[in-house]
Symmetry: C2
Subunit: 129 residues, 2 copies
Amino acid sequence: MSKSFVELPATENGGAEECCQDDVSCCSPLVISPLSEAQATHVAPLLKAMSDPVRLRLLSLVAAHENGEACVCELNDAFDLSQPTISHHLKVLHEAGLLDRSKRGTWVYYAIKRDVLADIASLIGGGLE
Amino acid sequence: MSKSFVELPATENGGAEECCQDDVSCCSPLVISPLSEAQATHVAPLLKAMSDPVRLRLLSLVAAHENGEACVCELNDAFDLSQPTISHHLKVLHEAGLLDRSKRGTWVYYAIKRDVLADIASLIGGGLE
DNA sequence: CAACCATATAGATGCTTGTATATATAGACA
DNA sequence: TGTCTATATATACAAGCATCTATATGGTTG
């Protein structure tokens, strides 16, 4: 573990270490070294997707459900909002890369992407233990 | 550690465990049990404060700086944005409870609140290790 | 006091977003 | 084929937000 702490060759962007810009897992924790502009631009949308109360609850409903997966029909019932609104929020979470989507017959299931969640958590909380 | 896993008396809100609604630290991790509406409403603003690329970088600049503290003057220089814009973002982070503010002479210093960061991280990533 | 520096506040503007209603798609089944 | 159910898309609108310029506040120093 703690592979994020390995030293990486500095790039031209002012000293922030930057490897694969597409993946949160390669950012060292906030507390260890400042995010580069590119890194921040990649990570922010993930947090933005989680920053709505409805989406946060959707995320936790899915994550805490059996196998980390839940049917849309169950999710709709948990809220006092219209079905298209829930569908919209699920789309946001899916497009952000936090939820996987799979259709099985008439029903659609969303599943949590645990690795992404873990990466975000270690970005925020890494180096504090 | 892992004090978040202790069983709590269920409340009337449909099974989600809920203690002090004012503090993130008492929410059990997303993956363990679904957030209540009240919990989600409390946590979401923290994530929203972090969900902007500029604020994410500000946060990490402060957090990774000596003593987890940095002077506004240094922060302004790190961005291509107007001084009031940076001031605004710092205010958002401060009001969300992520940064402490202290004035010393002419200068203002913002300091990271490590415990809040740690609480958010364990909310998101707890139960995945 | 006056000039100056560091930071915050006020107000304006254009873009984003959360929500709703109406409609489309598409699988199941009679 | 036609109808029902599950989910998504289209469109619209009010509210929120990131940014700017202009200005205020308040400490420092000549």
